[in-house]
C-alpha cells in the first residue's frame, strides 16, 4: 500500500523529470535531488546533515545487518522495492531479538529513471519506516549510465538494540523444539511471478511484504523462551529449515498437511511447476521454541493481523544433523532439501 507520490510536499521545483548522471555527481544537481526528493519524503532536517548519523545506543549489544534489493518489477501487487528495502532489513534485525533503531539507505539509480517513480519509492520507504517506528537517518546516491543499471537498486543497512538477556540464535535450537510459521507461505514469490509471467488472478495475489518485528517482540516480551527466529525470503521456508538444521546440528521434520498455503498460491505453483515451500515470502517469520510453549506462542501471534494464519508445522529432532524431512499427506517421508540453482531470479 504505497502513498500517493503526487501528494509529496516539495520545497522547490526540480528541473528534470528523470534521473540524470549529474544527479549522482556531488554537485548542484545532486543537492537538488537530495533536498527535492529524499529529504522531504524522509522528513529529515537539511540542517542536520553530515557524513554520518550519530545515534544514542546505550551500553548494550547492537544488532547490525545489511541487504541489497533488486526486485523486478519494482512495483508488484502488495508492495514495491522501497517497502521491501525497509521491511527486509527491519525484519532481519528483529530475527536477532533486536529492537530496530535506525536504517541507512544507499541508492544506485539508472540514468533515465522517472523522478516521479523515485519519489514514490522513497515515500513508500518513509511509510514503511513509520509503520516500524524506525528512521532512515543516512544514505547515499549514485547514478549509472542508461543501460547499466535497470532502474533502481537499493541497499539498506540497519542497526538495532538487543535487550539484556535475550539470546536468539540458531545455536539455541534443540531437539524437542516446535517449529512455527506466522502465516501462509509463498505469497511474495507468486505475486512477483504473476506479474512477470502474465498470470491473471480473478483476485490478484498480493505479496505478504510487511514487518514481523512486532510479532517477534510479542513472543519475547511475553517471556517465552524463543530459541531462534528467521524470516524466510529467497528459497522460502524449506531454505530456512535447511540453514537452521545445519547451523544447529539438528534434524527437522515438518508435516505437509500442517503447511498454510493459500489456494490461489497453491494453484499458481502447480501451473508454474513450483513447490510453495521453496517460494519466497517477505512478511513471515519462522520461530523455534520449546514444544510446551507452542500453543501460547500461537495465541500471541494470532492477535495480530500479520500473524492471523500462524501454525505449528513441525518439530526439531536429534538427528542426523542437517537433515530436513517432510511427512507427505500420504504419511510417507521424503527429504526437503536445499534447492539447486535459481528457481525465481530477482525476487527480492
Amino acid at each position: 500500500m504505497s502513498p500517493d507520490p503526487t501528494a509529496l510536499a516539495c520545497p522547490r521545483p526540480l528541473r528534470h523529470d528523470t534521473v540524470q548522471l549529474a544527479h549522482g555527481g556531488g554537485g548542484r544537481l545532486m543537492k537538488e535531488l537530495i533536498e527535492g526528493v529524499f529529504l522531504p519524503s524522509l522528513g529529515t532536517d537539511p540542517a542536520g546533515l553530515h557524513d554520518s548519523a550519530v545515534l544514542e545506543a546505550g551500553s548494550g549489544r547492537l544488532a547490525f545487518t545489511t541487504d541489497g534489493f533488486v526486485v523486478h518489477p519494482r512495483r508488484f501487487p502488495g508492495g514495491d522495492l522501497g517497502e521491501l528495502a525497509v521491511y527486509g532489513t527491519v525484519n532481519d534485525l528483529a530475527m536477532a531479538g533486536a529492537r530496530p533503531l535506525a536504517l541507512a539507505a544507499a541508492f544506485i539509480l539508472e540514468e533515465g529513471l522517472p523522478l516521479e517513480e523515485l519519489a514514490g519509492l522513497v515515500a513508500s520507504m518513509k511509510a514503511a519506516a513509520d509503520r516500524c517506528g524506525v528512521r532512515i537517518v543516512t544514505g547515499d546516491t549514485k547514478v549509472v549510465d542508461r543501460g547499466k543499471g535497470d532502474g533502481a537498486f537499493i541497499t539498506t543497512t540497519g542497526v538495532g538494540l538487543v535487550p539484556a538477556g535475550v539470546e536468539v540464535h540458531p545455536r539455541r535450537v534443540r531437539p524437542g523444539d516446535a517449529v512455527l510459521v506466522t502465516g501462509d507461505l509463498g505469497r511474495h514469490g507468486i505475486a512477483v511471478m504473476s506479474v512477470r509471467e502474465g498470470l491473471a488472478f480473478e483476485t490478484p495475489i498480493a505479496s505478504d511484504c510487511g514487518p514481523v518485528h512486532h510479532l517477534a517482540a510479542a513472543l519475547l516480551e511475553a517471556g517465552l523462551d524463543v530459541h531462534c527466529l528467521r524470516d524466510p525470503t529467497r528459497g522460502g521456508l524449506a531454505s530456512v529449515l535447511n540453514e537452521i538444521a545445519a547451523a544447529a546440528g539438528v534434524a527437522i521434520e515438518v508435516r505437509e498437511d500442517a503447511m498454510p498455503v493459500d489456494e490461489a498460491v497453491a494453484t499458481a505453483c502447480e501451473i508454474l511447476g513450483l513447490d510453495p515451500l521453496y517460494v519466497a515470502c517477505e512478511g513471515r517469520m519462522v520461530a523455534f521454541l520449546p514444544e510446551a510453549q507452542a500453543e501460547q506462542a500461537l495465541a500471541l501471534l494470532r492477535v495480530h493481523p500479520e500473524g492471523a494464519g500462524a501454525a505449528i508445522v513441525g518439530r526439531v529432532l536429534e538427528g542426523p544433523a542437517g537433515r530436513v524431512t517432510l511427512r507427505t499427506t500420504l504419511g510417507t517421508a521424503r527429504l526437503l532439501d536445499l534447492l539447486s540453482g535459481e528457481q525465481l531470479p530477482r525476487i527480492c
Binding site: I271, G331, S340
Partner: protein
C-alpha cells in the same frame, strides 16, 4: 484444486496399497514410463507403501533426459548467435551438452528466455520482428500438438523470424526397444497418461500381445499411480497381458483426433538417437518438407554440430531401468543437480534428480 487434491488423499492411497498387498503372491517388476510419474512416485514415497514383492523401475520417459548431447550443442550454438532470442522450457537450461549448458551461454550475454509454451515463443516472434526467435521443441507426443500449432500458425501468419529446434521422441518405439532387450527385467508397464491422451492407446495393443506384457495407461497423482499398479499387478497374477486405461477420465482409445491431425500436418516419423541409449528407428518426429523453413537446425546451419557424451554418465542405464540412480558411482558425488554429468540429474522429470532431491537417505517407516 479440483481433479488434483482428491487424487492425493492419504486414505484412498492406503486402501489401494492394501489392495495391492492382498493381491500379490510373488515378485513383480513394473516400469513407469513417464518422468512425471517417476517424480510423483519418489516425491510421495509411493514405493514405501508397496509390498516388498512389487519393485518399480524408472523408464526413459523424460524427453529432456533423452535429448542427445549433439542437439544440446546445436542449441548452444544457435543461442550464442547475435540477434537470436532462444526460448526454452526451464529445465533445459542446466542440461549439459558436451562442454557446457544454456545457462552458461546466457550468462555470457545470449538472449535465452524461459517460456511455458511454444505459443509464448510465437508471441515473442510477433513482438520482436528484428530478432530471430527460436523455440527448443523438446518433448514426447504430449507437447507435439502445441509445437505443431505454433509452426502451422507461424506459416499462416508468414512469420519469417520464428523457427524450432526439434527433439521430439515417441514412446512406443522406446518401449519396444526395452522389451526387445535381452537384459529386460520388466514384467508390466504403466504407460504415460498424457502421451496417450494425445495419441490414444491403440499402438500399445500389438506390443502387449507380442511380448505378453500388461500395459496400464496411468495418470500422475498418487491415487492414480497406485490404482495403475493394482491393475497391472492383477493382470500379472491372472496371467493376462492387455492394454488397460486407468486414466479414463482423460484418455480415449482413439486419442485426440484434432491433435493427431495437427501433428500429422507438421511432423513426420524420423529415426532418432536417444541420449545414453543410442539410435531407435522411427522413434522421433521431425518437420515435414513443407515446413522445413521452420527447422532451426537447418536455418542456422548447425546440423553437423555436436560432441561426445560424458563417459562417466550412466544415465542410459538408468533410463532403461537397468541401474538405480543411487547405485551409480557418480551419484551425489561427481554428479549433483548443481554440476550434473547427464540430463537425468537436472531435468525436473529425471530419475536421478528425483532421488537426489527427495530420497538421499534410507526410507523412514511410514506412519
Amino acid at each position: 484444486m479440483r481433479f488434483v487434491d482428491e487424487y492425493r488423499d492419504g486414505a484412498a492411497a492406503r486402501t489401494l496399497a492394501e489392495a495391492i498387498r492382498r493381491k500379490v503372491t510373488r515378485p513383480w517388476t513394473l516400469m513407469e514410463v513417464c518422468g512425471g510419474q517417476t517424480h510423483s512416485i519418489v516425491r510421495y514415497g509411493l514405493d514405501e507403501l508397496l509390498p516388498p514383492e512389487v519393485s518399480l523401475l524408472h523408464g526413459p520417459g523424460c524427453p529432456v533426459c533423452v535429448t542427445p548431447v549433439a542437439i544440446i550443442d546445436q542449441a548452444l550454438a544457435i543461442a550464442a548467435r547475435p540477434g537470436v532470442t532462444f526460448c526454452s522450457f526451464g529445465d533445459m537450461l542446466r542440461v549439459p551438452g558436451s562442454a557446457e549448458d544454456l545457462f552458461a551461454v546466457k550468462s555470457r550475454g545470449a538472449d535465452v528466455r524461459v517460456v511455458y509454451s511454444p505459443l509464448d515463443a510465437l508471441a515473442l516472434a510477433r513482438e520482436l520482428p528484428d530478432r530471430e526467435v527460436v523455440f527448443f521443441a523438446v518433448g514426447f507426443e504430449t507437447t507435439a500438438p502445441a509445437n505443431a500449432l505454433a509452426v502451422a500458425q507461424a506459416r499462416r501468419e508468414g512469420l519469417a523470424n520464428f523457427s524450432i529446434l526439434v527433439s521430439h521422441v515417441r514412446v512406443p518405439p522406446a518401449l519396444e526397444a526395452i522389451l526387445a532387450s535381452p537384459q529386460r527385467r520388466v514384467d508390466g508397464f504403466l504407460a504415460a497418461g498424457h502421451v496417450c491422451a494425445v495419441m490414444g492407446t491403440e499402438e500399445y495393443g500389438p506390443l502387449a500381445a507380442k511380448h505378453h506384457v500388461p500395459i496400464v495407461v496411468t495418470a500422475f497423482e498418487p491415487v492414480d499411480l497406485l490404482q495403475g499398479i493394482l491393475l497391472c499387478v492383477s493382470q500379472l497374477e491372472e496371467g493376462r497381458a492387455e492394454v488397460e486405461n486407468q486414466y479414463a477420465r482423460l484418455v480415449q482409445a482413439g486419442g485426440n483426433r484434432p491433435a493427431q491431425a495437427l501433428i500429422g500436418e507438421v511432423f513426420q516419423g524420423v529415426d532418432r538417437t536417444w541420449r545414453g541409449i543410442g539410435p531407435i528407428p522411427g522413434s522421433g518426429l521431425g518437420l515435414r518438407p513443407a515446413y522445413a523453413a521452420f527447422d532451426a537446425a537447418r536455418r542456422f546451419g548447425v546440423e553437423g554440430v555436436g560432441g561426445p557424451e560424458s563417459a562417466a554418465c550412466q544415465s542410459g542405464q538408468v533410463l532403461q531401468g537397468l541401474l538405480k540412480p543411487m547405485d551409480c558411482p557418480a551419484f551425489g558425488k561427481a554428479c549433483t543437480p548443481d554440476h550434473p554429468l547427464g540430463a537425468t540429474m537436472v531435468s525436473s522429470e529425471g530419475a536421478c534428480a528425483a532421488y537426489f532431491r527427495y530420497r538421499r537417505f534410507a526410507p523412514v517407516e511410514a506412519l
